[in-house]
Amino acid sequence: MALQLEALSKSYGTVEVLRPIDLEIKDGEFLTLLGPSGSGKTTILRMIGGFTQPSGGRILLDGQDLARVPTNKRPFNTVFQDYALFPHMSVAKNVGYGLSIRRMPKDEIARAVQEALDTVGLGSFHDRSPAELSGGQRQRVALARAIVCRPRIVLLDEPLSALDAALRRQMQGFLKDLQRQIGTTFLFVTHDQQEALTMSDRMVVMNVGSVEQIGSPKDIYYRPRTRFVASFIGDNNLCEADIDADGRLVTPMGATARPDGVEAAPRRVLMAVRPELISLSPRDNALETEAEVLSVEFAGAGSDMTLRLPGIETPFTARITSEPGQTPPAPGARQSIWIRRDDIAVVEKAAEQAP
């Protein structure tokens, strides 16, 4: 059952910053809210934490409405974006704060704090003051402080955004491992799609106050359902296509069999193809076409080839593996390409125009 959001919404004055959303957060999952700045991610997190009052809808924990439960009585703990460590307390006092409020005996607090600090790899940092820690260490203290009370859900608002790229990668792996190890539900906010894709069990993609799509990272990446998701997450080639009366996808490159989960009614849709799924060699069950090479850009691990496809106005990008000895086709050359039918994502135009 776990946590359920029912038509949860938020307005400031007449501005609706969060349209009613429904969401179920399962026990033990790593759920990410992903969206550009101002899409309402923090707003959701703060309403769950009890820092902001919802304008409408309900938050249910195991079926119980939390409306009348104040922040300090909710079994959630937050890792704040600025870490919010108490500057006048040592690391150990910070981590033990929640336990001391629960009036746990001193020696038990000491043991729990030690265990939590060991978990985050800061076992010998008890007596340091927060000012004497690096950014990454502060972040881990904040994490230890949040998990030591064994909350039902840990709420994390862009906890990694202040770290440099290398540390960020390292912390991503660490967070994910930790979550798996302690089995606690993590609700994680980020505007970094790479972070969301690598860490999440499921992710919620948001845009200007509404949910665009909910699904596993693979779903979101390979089966975007709205134009926003298709273009916001990773690179995508988008063009118009048609569904015919039999539900087949009719593209400028030819028709495919009826894609999974697509309704059989004639209409215009968008098709999306990932650059790395465009192949220069024959593939089974694929659409084939001859394209004109516009340019080729070497980018280290691969090369980005810009192609003009017959019947498609905007050029497509293909990401091809490059090998040291290989000479890529020169601009102006003709090049045959193959796109597997299963690799084409169908994006409904109606979904794109959702109010």
């Binding site: 300090n72 704040f80 919010a84 009370c149």
Partner: protein, 279 residues
Amino acid sequence: MTSRTSRLLLFALAASVPLLLVVLPIGNFFVMSFWRVSDNVIVPDATLANYAGFLENDAYWRTFLFTIGLCAAVAGIGIAIGYPVSYFIWRLRGRIKYLLLLLLILPLFMSYIVKIYTMRSILGLNGFLNKFLVFTGILDQPSTLFLYNRTAILITMATILLPFVILPIFLTLERIPKSLTQASADLGAGAGTTFWRVVLPLSLPGTAAGALFTFVLALGDYITPQMVGGPNGFTFGRVIWSQFGLAYNWPFGAALAVIMFLFALAVIGLAAFMAARQR
């Protein structure tokens, strides 16, 4: 003119203001405190007689200690009233918050004398305070207890100096990130616990600064005791002042002033030392 000399000139100009207005007068007092008066004429000298005079006469001593106690009490009352007020304003939301703050520190821009007269009219026999107390039945008849005595000095100083307490306390409260009180609630603390364990400790520096301001300002104030203190509200400031007036013993007054100045400096130094050690 090279940029170096022009920079030096600018520095000298900037430094000359505090030098002229602060250091010179104090230095002047310091020098004068070793002079003496003979036959109503001030004579330059190098005598310690003025300091000996202070140490030997326990009337001066007692006034000195009484004044310190009084000013400490003023600071104490200031904190006792100023802290809750600052906290209350800090917790307010929106425009009213800064409006109220402005209202409370507005008296800073008013003439000191006007404020004292106002307090006198409030505390007097026909004053607002007596009228209020009689009206509510707390007193049977107006009391003379509130004016021309030590209590009057205490009440008046504490009231007039209140903005000096409220402002620094409010500013340290404002500097506490919202996320800290939220983190405290998040970890299970109620409003009271959050106050005692997070807000209060983090606002101590401003509270100490407010107390210090009030204490030192009260120490230097001789007008308030003069105007509301009556005959038994004799403070050290008044003693010093009288040496420059009636008694006409400037060197002795200068010595007393130096003693008070050094004492205030010691208190400020001690506070600075403790603040540095805490960090």
